[in-house]
C-alpha cells in the first residue's frame, strides 16, 4: 500500500497546488492550463479509488472538450495580464464575489457530507455493493433502470441549454451564398447553360 499512498499524495498535491495557481496566477492563459492540470490530477485520483469510468469521463468531457472551449475563449478575448494584484486593487470586486460563492459551496458541501454521514442505511440500501463486477457495469446497471428519470432530466436540461445558446447567438446574415449540393449534382447540361437576351443599358442578373 506504500506505493498507493505515494501516488495518492503525489496527485493530490498537484491538484491542490494547481487549483491554487488557477486563482492566483496573473495571466489568464496560465490559469486555464493549471485548471487543465487540476482536472487531470483529479481524474487520476478518481481512477485510484477505483472509479475508473468517472475518471475517464472527467478526462474526456472536461479536459477534452470543456477546457478546450475555455482556452479558446481566453485566447480569442486576448485578456491582457492582470496588471495589479487582486489583493491590492482598490476597486476589485473579485474578492467579495469569490467569497460569497465559496461560502455557498462550503455550506452545500457540509449539507451533503453531513447528510451522507448521518444516513445510516445508505450503504445497505444501495444496489451497488457487488464487488466482483467492474465499476462501469455497476453504473450501467442502475443508470438506465433505477435512475432513468434523473438521467433523462439531466439530458433535457443540457439540451435546453444548448438550444438557448444557439438561439442567443444565431443571426441570419444577408447576402451569403450557400452551396446547395443537390442542385450542383442534379443539374443537367440543358439547364446549366442559359441564353439571355441582354437589353442595352440594363444588363442582366446572372447569379441568384
Amino acid at each position: 500500500m506504500i506505493a498507493h499512498s505515494i501516488f495518492f499524495y503525489f496527485f493530490s498535491v498537484i491538484a491542490i497546488f494547481s487549483s491554487l495557481m488557477v486563482i492566483t496566477s496573473r495571466s489568464t492563459i496560465n490559469s486555464v492550463f493549471f485548471l487543465i492540470l487540476d482536472f487531470i490530477s483529479v481524474g487520476c485520483l478518481f481512477i485510484m479509488v477505483g472509479a475508473e469510468f468517472l475518471g475517464m469521463i472527467l478526462l474526456i468531457v472536461y479536459v477534452g472538450a470543456v477546457a478546450v472551449l475555455f482556452l479558446f475563449v481566453v485566447m480569442m478575448l486576448n485578456v491582457a495580464e492582470q496588471k495589479q494584484s487582486w489583493f491590492i486593487g482598490r476597486k476589485s470586486t473579485h474578492i467579495p464575489t469569490g467569497l460569497v460563492v465559496s461560502v455557498l459551496i462550503l455550506l452545500e458541501l457540509l449539507v451533503v457530507v453531513g447528510g451522507w454521514k448521518f444516513k445510516e442505511d445508505i450503504m445497505s440500501s444501495s444496489t451497488l455493493i457487488l464487488s466482483d463486477i467492474s465499476n462501469t457495469h455497476q453504473l450501467g446497471l442502475v443508470m438506465y433502470t433505477d435512475y432513468i428519470l434523473y438521467f433523462q432530466l439531466a439530458g433535457i436540461v443540457l439540451l435546453l441549454a444548448m438550444i438557448g445558446a444557439i438561439l442567443l447567438t444565431f443571426r441570419q446574415r444577408e447576402g451569403v451564398k450557400k452551396q446547395s449540393y443537390i442542385n450542383q449534382v442534379t443539374r443537367s447540361p440543358l439547364t446549366a447553360v442559359e441564353l439571355v437576351e441582354v437589353k442595352s443599358n440594363q444588363g442582366v442578373k446572372i447569379d441568384d
Binding site: 506504500i2 475508473e52 475517464m56 474526456i60 477534452g64 472538450a65 478546450v68 472551449l69 485566447m75
Partner: protein
C-alpha cells in the same frame, strides 16, 4: 522496498520494449507514406538512402537533431517548448493499452476504449499550445482551425465507438477483439467503419482534412515557428497518432490480432503479425487518400462532421440497438 523496485524495473523494461518498436515503426511508416505518395504520382519517392530508401527518415531525423532550435523572441517560451513534448507524450502513452495479442499488452485495463478516446481527445492541446505560444498569426489560425476540427470529429468517433460497444458489452480492448471471433464488425457495421475512417483522417489532420497546416493559406499552420528537434517531435507525434488511429480502427472493426479465418495456415501466424498487417493496411489507405483526394474547404469540413456524420451515426446507433434488442442479441453481462 526491493519488491517495488523490482516491479518498477520490470515495468520500465516493458515500456522501453514497447516504445522503441513504435518509434522505429513511425520512422518506417513515414517512408511508406512518402513512397506511396510518390508512386501514385508516378514518381519514385525517397529511394536513395539505404536499400529502397528505407533509411531516408533516419537521415532526416539526424538532420533535425543537428539543426539549431530557434525560439521566436515574442513567443511564450515555456508553452512553446511544452507543446511538442505534450504532443509526443500523448501520442506515445496511448499505446500502453493496445493489445498486440491476448497477453502481449502493457496495461489490460477495464476501460481501454475510454482511455484511448480520452488520450486522443487530449491530443488537441499540443496543437493549441504550439499555435498560441508562437505568438504569430498563421500558427494561431492553424491551431484554432485544428482545435475546432478535432473537437467536432471526436463527437462522431465517440458515437461510432458506442456502436461497437453495444455489440461487445465491454470496454476492454481484448474483449472487443475476442467478440469478433465469429464475425468482424466491419461487416455488420460497414457504414460506421467508413465514417470512422474519415473521422480518423480529420482527427489526425491528414489530407484531405489538413486545413490546420494548409500550406497555401497558412504557411505550415501551428508548426510554422518550429524548427529542428521540436519540429521533428511534432512530426513524430503526428505519425504516432496516425498509427494509433489505425490500430484503433483495426481493433474496433477488423478483429485486432485475430487471423482472417481460423484455419490451418493462417492461424499459425502469430497474433502480433496479424495486428501489424491490419495496421499497415489501414495506413496504406491513409497514404493513398493523401495522394488522391484534394483538400476540403473549411465550411465543407464542418458541414460533413456536424450535419452528415453526426446524425447518420446517431441513426445507425438506434438501428444497431433495436436490431440487437429485437433479435435478443444484446451481450449478456454475467454477474
Amino acid at each position: 522496498m526491493m519488491e517495488y523496485l523490482q516491479i518498477l524495473g520490470q515495468e520500465v523494461y516493458k515500456i522501453i520494449f514497447l516504445l522503441i518498436p513504435i518509434l522505429v515503426s513511425v520512422a518506417m511508416v513515414v517512408w511508406l507514406d512518402r513512397r506511396v505518395w510518390g508512386l501514385v504520382q508516378k514518381r519514385k519517392g525517397p529511394n536513395v538512402v539505404g536499400p529502397f530508401g528505407l533509411f531516408q527518415t533516419l537521415a532526416d531525423a539526424l538532420k533535425y537533431i543537428f539543426k539549431e532550435i530557434i525560439i521566436p523572441a515574442s513567443a511564450n517560451k515555456v508553452v512553446f517548448i511544452l507543446a511538442p513534448i505534450v504532443t509526443m507524450t500523448l501520442a506515445l502513452i496511448a499505446w500502453a493499452v493496445i493489445p498486440m495479442s491476448e497477453d502481449l499488452v502493457l496495461a489490460d485495463i477495464n476501460v481501454g476504449v475510454l482511455y484511448l478516446f480520452a488520450v486522443s481527445s487530449l491530443g488537441v492541446y499540443g496543437i493549441i499550445m504550439g499555435g498560441w505560444a508562437s505568438n504569430s498569426k498563421y500558427p494561431f489560425l492553424g491551431a484554432i482551425r485544428s482545435a475546432a476540427q478535432m473537437v467536432s470529429y471526436e463527437v462522431s468517433i465517440g458515437i461510432i465507438i458506442i456502436n461497437v460497444l453495444l455489440c461487445v458489452g465491454s470496454l476492454n480492448l481484448n474483449d472487443i477483439v475476442l467478440a469478433q471471433k465469429e464475425l468482424w464488425y466491419v461487416i455488420p457495421l460497414f457504414p460506421m467503419f467508413v465514417i470512422f475512417f474519415i473521422s480518423a483522417l480529420a482527427e489526425t489532420n491528414r489530407p484531405p482534412f489538413d486545413l490546420p497546416e494548409a500550406e497555401a493559406e497558412l504557411v505550415a499552420g501551428y508548426q510554422t515557428e518550429y524548427s529542428g528537434m521540436m519540429y521533428a517531435m511534432f512530426w513524430l507525434g503526428e505519425y504516432a497518432n496516425i498509427l494509433l488511429m489505425c490500430a484503433m480502427g483495426s481493433i474496433l472493426f477488423l478483429g485486432g490480432w485475430l487471423p482472417i479465418i481460423d484455419v490451418y495456415p493462417l492461424n499459425v501466424i502469430p497474433a502480433p503479425v496479424w495486428m501489424i498487417i491490419k495496421i499497415l493496411f489501414l495506413f496504406f489507405l491513409f497514404a493513398l487518400i493523401k495522394a488522391i483526394v484534394p483538400r476540403y474547404r473549411y465550411d465543407q469540413l464542418m458541414r460533413l462532421g456536424w450535419k452528415i456524420f453526426l446524425p447518420f451515426s446517431l441513426v445507425y446507433l438506434v438501428l444497431t440497438a433495436s436490431f440487437l434488442f429485437y433479435f435478443d442479441k444484446l451481450p449478456k453481462v454475467n454477474i
